[in-house]
Amino acid sequence: MRLYKRAPDARATIALAAVIGLAALAGCSSNTSSASKPTSSAAASSTGTASTGATAQTSQCGTKPGVKAAGTPIPLGGIVTNQPGTSFTDIANMANAYFTCVNDNGGINGHPIKYYIESEQTNPGQIAAEAKQLVQTDHVVGIVGNTSIIECSIDHSYWQKLGFYIVDSGIAPECWSTPNSAAVNMGPRYSSDGAVQYALSQHVSKIVFDQSNVPGTGYIAAGPAALAGAAHVAVTQLTENVPISDANSVAIKEVDDAGPNGAVVLNFTPPEALVILQAAQKLGLENRVKLWGCSTPCNTDFLAQALGPKWNHKLFVNAELTPAFTSSPSMSLYKAILAQYGKAVSGGIGSFSQFGFAEAEIVVHALETIKGAYTVASVNGAIKAVSNFDTGQLCQPWTYGSYPMHIPNNEDYTVTPDNGHMVLAQGCTQISSVDPQIAAYRKVAG
């Protein structure tokens, strides 16, 4: 009897304790998560020691420092994937930070930019609906910052029909192979090309190229296969189901296949690449191949820190963006904007926020050339007319152009981990025209 009388009270007490405990843990985790991002914290402290100093740096983003734009807003839109395990919101949030900076410093001829961000969960119907919402409900005149697993595939015809020329960070093949999309990044195929190209430059005798088993693997693998074929180097193409639950067998398979004079080149997101590399280290396999390579997603200090010093100068990562440790006015502005306006950018300094910065910079540059009204025609005409624009974030000036396809970012760096940070291993190098897509682009773009 007593047991039954106590039980409801005990259950309620335990439930309350659990809620309080989880809330406390959430608070601790938020604090410790912030503490685990030293690069973004350092950027904030170094640029924000004096608020006037930070403001002075960020004011360079606009044409009238310190003057808030108060005119009719210029509406722009962006669609990004945001789902468990895959979130590209940092890119759009960084673009938004840039626009906010511009709005605080004169806007576009006095007009603030109003940026609508739609997030999607890789649902084709949802993505198509969001594109229509941006156009028909939000009346956006330009699309910038799209970063989505399948958005280019779903919406490229729609954008083409309406005359939108979007500036995005591509993933799907259509982001580079259609006339109405120009990406600031290289994407998985050309980034993998860059990683394989570096391995080939080190005279390896075999390439093992391993990537996530997701739609588009054939398209991605075609580039590395062409490069290896042209160099008369054998190549093995592998795919792994993600998330990887057995990295040991993956690492053993890769190393066995590559051999002592071979290279293993990975095309995975950082967490998946990390588990493979750590498994290789734990099995004592990291020195059993000549070198390890990885496409751009591996270019994060998080990965360098997690790998530790055993991987110093053993892993070579394609970097499709100028390394953030580079000293330049553009990089200073990027970090200052991130520090002052980028609270929503959870990843801090890194490729994603650099993408967002570059895309916003390009579109702002285009908008500033418009003399009359900001309409779909004028805005997209200005975007298409962007030519040889130096974003400060890429190896080469960026051009949109009137081409049937766009691969404006086709030069890369190579970086390597060094005691917890990525450092430069090779400067700007053109992706080889052996890749037929690169050759086709260079033929039309000149």
């Binding site: 047991l3 039980a7 005990a10 259950r11 335990i14 439930a15 304790a17 659990a18 405990g21 989880l22 843990l25 959430a26 601790c28 985790s29 604090n31 410790t32 503490a35 685990s36 468990p84 395990g85 895959t86 979130s87 919101t89 940092d90 088993n213 998330p243 990887i244 639950s245 057995d246 990295a247 040991n248 067998s249 053993i252 398979k253 066995d256 997101t269 950082p270 967490p271 998946e272 690449a273 990390l274 588990v275 734990k282 099995l283 004592g284 396999l285 059993r288 997603p297 994060t300 998080f302 990965l303 997690a306 950018v345 959870s346 990843g347 801090g348 890194g350 490729s351 994603f352 926020s353």
Partner: protein, 297 residues
Amino acid sequence: MPSWQDFQPFIVSGLALGGVYALSGVGTVVLYQATGVLYLAFGAVGAMGALIAWSLIHAGTPEWVAWLVCVAFGGAVTLAYGMVFGPPLARRGPLVKAVATLGLTLVLFGAMDLLWTANGGESRAITLPTDNGGFMVGQVQVNWTQVIALCAGIALVVVTGVFLRYTKLGTAMRAMANDREITATLGVPVRRVEAAAWLGCGLIAGLAGLLLADLVALDATTLTFLVISSLAAALIARLRSIALTFVAAIAVGLIHDLLTPIQSLSNYRDMTPFVLAAAALLVLSRHRVISLSREDA
């Protein structure tokens, strides 16, 4: 067909993988034996405990404290769930009880995605001191963490077997697994026995989460859904025998990895747990008489 030398390193990795499945599988069966609940949140609880440990270590907390917190978190959350939701669902069928734990899985999974976002390419890892030492088997290094995981699985089987057979609490758990109502009418404090089972399973989940975060990946998705593969081992043992669960887990891990060097089968090796579970259930069920149970969900 690959040679014996080609298979050798995969025997080592297969045993390590089997140890991983065994930790999850045995813990799941222990709780099922005591409460009739298929605890699908086993992976998520361990994953969240490991992420909390990672956050504490990065905040400067001594590692051993973080590890203890991880294990304690597993015990606390599982016990809390069991005490709050166990009694109201006690009379419901196994399917309802299992789906309810799926709710906890989704809540924890969502919380992990919110609190430990993967934006910006964060790559988290937990390393244990035992990662650095080891010995060579052929051309592959076996580290002590892998050995500990395998031994932990064996120890868990032995200790749990002894506990269930020779202690009063263990006997009460076995009785409850047979018939909860009759056990209660005999004066056994079923709520306390259940609480002990939930707490024990939760502590195992916390420990498994820590080891799996080191052996597999410190990733919420990977660790949460690892329970599905380990469930195959539990199903092969028909959720009855802990020892058989362990053997099945090792077998699943070995077969999974031994398929790796076979080119034509390598891409399908992730199906191994499910194919083996389905085959085992078909073979083991072929002589069973189908009966209708009066205990309905």
